[in-house]
Amino acid sequence: MTGADIGWWGVPLAILGGAIRVSTPFLFVSLGECLTERSGRINLGLEGTLVFGAMSGYAVAYETNSAWLGVLAAAIAGSMFGLFHGWICKLPRVNDIAIGIALMLFGMGLAFFFGKPYIQPVAPDLPAFEFGAWSSLPQMQAALKVNVLFLVGIVLAIAMAWMFRATRLGLTIRVVGDSTDSARALGINPDLVRLLATGAGGALAGVAGAYLSLYYPGSWNEGISSGQGLMAVALVIFARWNPINCFWAALMFGGAGALGPALQSVGVSQGYYLFYAAPYVLTLVVLVATSSGRGLLASAPGSLSITK
């Protein structure tokens, strides 16, 4: 590589690159959770689903030597977790939050147990588009190396927003999410809709895990997730249950997370623990700035157990 000295320009570049690289898992988990919560159910177990997706995706990619089969396996494994959650929550008087936490621990434990033999081997990576090829700067080329899943995530966010707004399916999910009784009156089976929405949400969380283990950082180990699955749940509330907002929120989290290492690399090294807290500080600031006493949770699905 050529050692072009870009100094302080490295910071915005790193934030851009970090936003693209780091945001994808946030995006997928939050889209999945958005779908689930829109149907009136909370799945807090997505962290476990994500970790299990990361493990199963990596394992299958290694065994079959195909990263895409790994992503598929992660999606299937994730949907299994989602369906399991949805199935248990169908039973009378079951608290979806408690089941979510149980499934989170279960998913992580299971992933650690089955993942032992896959910590050492090197699995194939997912392909990426080189959108930075026009630039002679290696830094720019690296920042604009965009993984396919990131683009899939953007398309998915737009498609999901359109689905909620303009399709019968979206309307059905929204009705179920807003009022179980109205849904029943309309002849919709709310339990079935929620089961499928939780299953689909789990599949997306599994794909998020596969992105972590198959692209960035690109290896499976027990510390692969630093709470992306949990943060994404908060991100959905922050994004006001809007898929497009989920995308922006995920980008912001990714970019803010890149701030700490980037600032250290240009020599701003005092107080790096503070910079590492940037994503959380940012969340707090935006939450405070966008809430008002009256509008708070106005867009929340009516049947969600946190709003009931």
Binding site: R21, V22, P138, S219, G223, S226, Q264, S265, S269
Partner: protein, 372 residues
């Protein structure tokens, strides 16, 4: 009076029950009969291509010895969790020799348990044991792996074209700082204009942040990188993906990127642990303060990779031989830290065995970064 912990309660009640009815049928008493039981505790997974794997390989060598039972526990946090793990190993498995391997286990966790179990030996990796402050049944062992990073630095100094080398570090503790300083000073024996950029991630294992740190180094034109985190796999793979040369740490990572891997500083705990266990088996006592370097077989270097030039190979081998003779000093005065404070006056030097190096709190001139 202190409230008894659950384990103490269980221990007492099970002892009573055992005496009353079960006799020697209880599993813990059976374990006790099998000679020397040794406990190993790791802070992360024991196959992490790094710190914990190095220790686990040592434990595996101990396991192969005669008359020894090894119990292991991984993913034990540096919190009260490790006290529970240690008490469980002592009370239920009958362990009389413990190797809690992570730096943060010593103070306050080992120090809290050692007075309570005077017959158990606590051997801690990396802690600074001192005779006047700490219990006699605790001990500290470590290797002069800074020397390995110095040799890494020589290979890096020859390989760098941008004259910028990089270091992804976890926390600014003395061992890490010594490694960073040694890496730069090794490179500066090749070219005094080389600088070393350090990025602290703040934790021993944070995959995404380590990858971000490596990318940030690449963006600044750094072309050789090494690290001091628990599992170097992420740093190595990310750096190789960005076309940087690699110097390994903890274990041999050359299979991850054979053509980019220069060399690496590796632990050789198998040698150390089997030696200590033999001492105990023959009725001896392990010294409280055990240190060793390349010469004593505590550390070793990965074989030089294909990217290492002949000039680098020559200097590497010469320095390696000089270190093997002992009393090698990396820090030779006059030298300043990167804030301008004098750390060594003219003629003053710190040889590898100097305990002053184990309380290092500075980064030498030429390292870009800060300890806080």
């Amino acid at each position: 009076m202190k409230t008894p912990t659950r384990r103490q309660f269980l221990k007492t009640t099970s002892l009573v029950a055992g005496a009353a009815a079960l006799g020697s049928a209880l599993p813990f008493s059976a374990a006790r009969a099998a000679g020397l039981t040794i406990g190993f505790i790791y802070v992360g997974p024991k196959d992490d291509y790094g710190y914990n794997q190095a220790h686990a390989e040592g434990a595996a060598a101990v396991k192969a010895m005669e008359g020894v039972t090894v119990v292991e526990e991984e993913n034990v946090a540096e919190t009260v969790d490790v006290q529970k793990s240690m008490e469980s190993m002592i009370n239920f498995d009958g362990a009389s020799l413990l190797f809690p391997t992570s730096f943060g286990y010593f103070d306050p966790h080992i120090l809290a348990l050692a007075p309570k179990y005077p017959d158990v030996r606590f051997e801690h990796c990396g802690g600074l044991w001192s005779a006047d402050k700490h219990p006699k049944n605790t001990g500290s062992y470590f290797g002069y792996i800074g020397m390995g990073q110095f040799l890494n630095g020589i290979a890096a100094g020859h390989a760098t074209k941008s004259k910028k080398i990089g270091f992804v570090a976890a926390k600014p503790i003395p061992q890490v700082l010594l490694n960073i300083n040694s890496f730069l000073l090794g490179a500066r024996t090749v070219d005094p204009s080389i600088t070393c950029q350090v990025i602290f991630t703040g934790e021993w294992s944070l995959a995404v942040k380590e990858a971000e740190a490596t990318n940030a180094l690449a963006d600044q034109g750094v072309d050789v990188v090494t690290c001091h985190v628990d599992g170097p796999k992420v740093v190595m793979e990310t750096a190789a993906g960005r076309g940087m040369y690699l110097c390994g740490y903890h274990a041999n990572q050359s299979p991850l990127a054979p053509d980019k891997y220069l060399t690496g500083a590796e632990w050789n705990w198998a040698n150390v642990y089997t030696g200590m266990v033999k001492t105990v088996q023959s009725g001896g006592t392990i010294p409280n303060f055990v240190r060793g370097g390349l010469a004593e077989g505590f550390i070793k270097m990965s074989p030089l990779g294909p990217a290492v030039s002949d000039a680098a190979r020559k200097q590497f081998t010469e320095t390696h031989d000089a270190i093997m003779k002992g009393n090698y000093a990396v820090i030779n005065g006059p030298m300043k830290d990167n804030k301008g404070n004098v750390i060594a006056t003219a003629g003053q030097s710190f040889v590898e065995t100097d305990v002053a190096l184990e309380s290092m709190d500075y980064l030498v001139d030429g390292v870009i970064g800060s300890t806080s």
